[in-house]
């Protein structure tokens, strides 16, 4: 009985050791990949940081109103980009390392993740760019609307901002393959809604301005009802 148990035990140990011996090169390879990935991630982080500093990215994005002006350098665009690039390379390296283990489950997961990661990254980048553009558009529209004397300038600017954000989100989701036909449909409904709201805002907030503008363009058309004001809304001032 004892001999039998001992044989089974030794067989098991031998089996485990054999399996471990077979796995050891893969583990070593995985560790090498991890170390290499870590070095690569640090290098990428350094390159991205230098590139951002060279392009004065923080200053430019603050100037355009894309990034908020704050003394908190922890949340600066450069820091954000360096962190994202570092962790992206590290995570990709991790999945690549796990795929070396050659276990069926790990391989299947890794394959799907590695296949999906680039699309996800591009979609994320698209959305981030759209958010940045949306802020620039918002500020430009706000200044323009204020200078045109539109009382609902803020509303119009917000509408323009969300239009761009939505457009970016729809493109990003479509690229990432999320939601299939639901995304374009939802986007269409939301986009149409915002355009309608903007049209109302412009119509209600600047109807006088629009009427005057139409009357100037089509002086013979008597159907446009314009307020009884002068041609030039700012009065008789020539700025130049």
């Amino acid at each position: 009985m004892w001999q039998n148990t001992k044989r089974v035990f030794l067989d098991s140990v031998e089996h485990i050791l054999n399996a471990a011996a077979q796995l050891l090169p893969s583990v070593l390879a995985m560790l090498v990949i991890f170390i290499f990935t870590l070095v690569l991630a640090i290098a990428v982080r350094s390159v991205v940081r230098r590139l951002c500093n060279k392009l004065a990215l923080d200053r430019r994005l603050r100037e355009w109103g894309v990034a908020p002006v704050s003394s908190d350098s922890w949340a600066s665009p450069t820091k954000l980009l360096t962190r994202i690039s570092f962790w992206t390379v590290l995570l990709l390296g991790l999945f690549l390392g796990l795929s070396v283990l050659d276990t069926p489950v790990a391989s299947a997961i890794d394959l799907r993740i590695l296949e999906y990661a680039p699309r996800l990254l591009v979609a994320f980048a698209m959305f981030a760019i759209a958010v940045g553009i949306a802020r620039v558009v918002e500020r430009n529209v706000l200044i323009g609307a204020v200078n045109m004397g539109m009382q609902s300038a803020r509303l119009i600017a917000l509408g323009a901002r969300w239009l761009v954000v939505l457009l970016g989100a729809a493109i990003a989701l479509d690229h990432a393959g999320v939601g299939a036909s639901v995304v374009p449909l939802a986007f269409g409904i939301l986009f149409g809604g915002i355009v309608f709201a903007l049209a109302l805002a412009v119509g209600l907030g600047a109807k006088d301005l629009v009427a005057r503008s139409l009357q100037r363009r089509f002086p013979d058309a008597g159907s446009v009802e314009a307020p009884p004001e002068q041609e030039e809304p700012r009065g008789g001032i020539h700025h130049v």
Binding site: V69, V146, N147, G149, Q230, R234, I237, H239, V240
Partner: protein, 408 residues
């Protein structure tokens, strides 16, 4: 304004020899030929020893000077001198400078049109160069009180306080200069370093005022620009004021050492035009200011110190018909925006266009002040504004040196 007329009749006429080069702004062939003939005739009558050459500028990617007979049938839509720098096209001014240098012309001028024939405007323009050894003549024009408002509100007081010279209308697109100045301007590195900007009116006047050359101004009669459609205030602000903020950057070392201001020699008689109908809609100006404060205050917070924002809030809280931006606050605002332009606190076009409601707020008060005044009274009002710009220059210098410190 009653300008000082500097008589130079005693100067020997024998000095007025050599060639005068005139570059006329592009016009259609017929009017260019007529204007050229009239200018030549008047110049030969006025400066008998001189040989006048009149050429027409062609705008576009490769500006050139051509004989009036070769001018295009249809004139270009955009003005050549002012337009060239903005569009990033090669400067017409450079072409004129090079031509003056090549010909060795004693005096050269870039003109946009023929002026009031009842005046000796060509004499006023060239006499200082040909007979009094001036290097640069800046033309000024008689205009209505509410015309050229950007010049009154910003450019004239700012340029005067920066460079200490009272050049009344430094924003014009016309100029006359000596060949010495032409050669000196051509030697400037800005043509190579900043070709899209070099040659603009602000660059030209800034270079001259910051340099050592002798400058004067000449009143050429009524403004030749005509009563075209009024340009939108925000576009005009970005187009006119932006280059002057750029000049502040370029000559920062120079203007920080200047204190006060002195008159420049003036030729001809200048004054604002009287009899103007005052139909300015001040309520619209006030509404524009209030709307701007409500919607753009957060953006202005990146540019203006808290004390100025508080002053603006108080101004906007005044009863209807009373809201206005006072002169000292306005002077500080202009300096603050110049600093923000320099440090790029906000994208430059956005920054300049966001200044519009503040400008309207100041214009509203100015219109109210001068509504019942005559030309001399209006000029006194402008003098008061210029005084504030000069007094607040210390503030401007402090903000320029320490832009992060809102309470110098």
């Amino acid at each position: 304004m009653s300008a000082t007329s500097t008589g130079l009749s005693a100067v020997a006429e024998s000095r007025a020899g050599g060639e005068i080069l005139i570059a006329l702004e592009a016009a259609d062939r017929r009017s260019a030929t007529d204007s050229a003939a009239a200018i030549r005739a008047r110049l030969s009558e006025r400066f008998s020893g001189c040989n006048a050459t009149v050429l027409v500028t062609t705008a576009g990617t490769d500006p050139a000077l051509v004989d009036p007979a070769d001018a295009p049938d249809v004139p270009p839509a955009a003005p050549t001198l002012a337009g060239a720098a903005i569009a990033g096209q090669p400067s017409v001014l450079r072409t004129v400078l090079e031509e003056a240098d090549r010909r060795g012309a004693r005096a050269a001028a870039l003109l946009s049109a023929a002026h009031d024939e009842s005046l000796d405007w060509l004499g006023h323009l060239f006499q200082p160069i040909l007979e009094a050894d001036f290097d640069f003549v800046s033309p000024s024009y008689r205009r209505n009180r509410f015309d050229g408002m950007l010049n009154t509100a910003i450019v004239y007081p700012l340029v005067r306080s920066l460079f200490g010279r009272r050049l009344r209308q430094p924003t014009g697109s016309e100029a006359a200069f000596s060949v010495t100045l032409a050669r000196s301007l051509l030697a400037q590195p800005a043509w190579r370093r900043d070709p899209a900007y070099a040659g603009s009116p602000a660059w030209l006047v800034g270079s001259i005022l910051a340099g050592a050359c002798r400058a004067c101004q000449a009143w050429l009669g009524r403004w030749p620009g005509g009563a075209g459609p009024a340009e939108d205030a925000s576009h005009a602000l970005a187009r006119i004021v932006g280059p002057w903020f750029h000049e502040m950057e370029r000559h920062a070392e120079r203007w920080q050492r200047v204190e006060g201001s002195e008159p420049v020699p003036t030729f001809g008689q200048g004054a604002a035009l009287d009899g103007e109908r005052s139909d300015v809609d001040v309520a619209a100006l006030e509404d524009g200011f209030r709307l701007g404060l409500r919607e753009l205050e957060s953006l202005w917070g990146l540019v203006l110190p808290p004390a100025t924002l508080l002053a603006l809030r108080r101004a906007a809280a005044a009863p209807a018909g009373k809201a206005r931006v006072s002169d000292p606050v306005w002077a500080r605002i202009v300096y603050d925006f110049a600093v923000a332009y320099s440090v790029r606190a906000v994208e430059r076009q956005q920054l300049l266009r966001s200044m519009t409601p503040l400008y309207l707020g100041w214009v509203r008060g100015f219109v109210e002040d001068v509504r019942e005044l005559d030309a001399d009274g209006t000029e006194e009002r402008v003098e008061a504004l210029c005084g504030w710009f000069e007094r607040e220059k210390r503030y401007g210098i402090a903000r320029w040196r320490w832009p992060d410190n809102f309470n110098p």
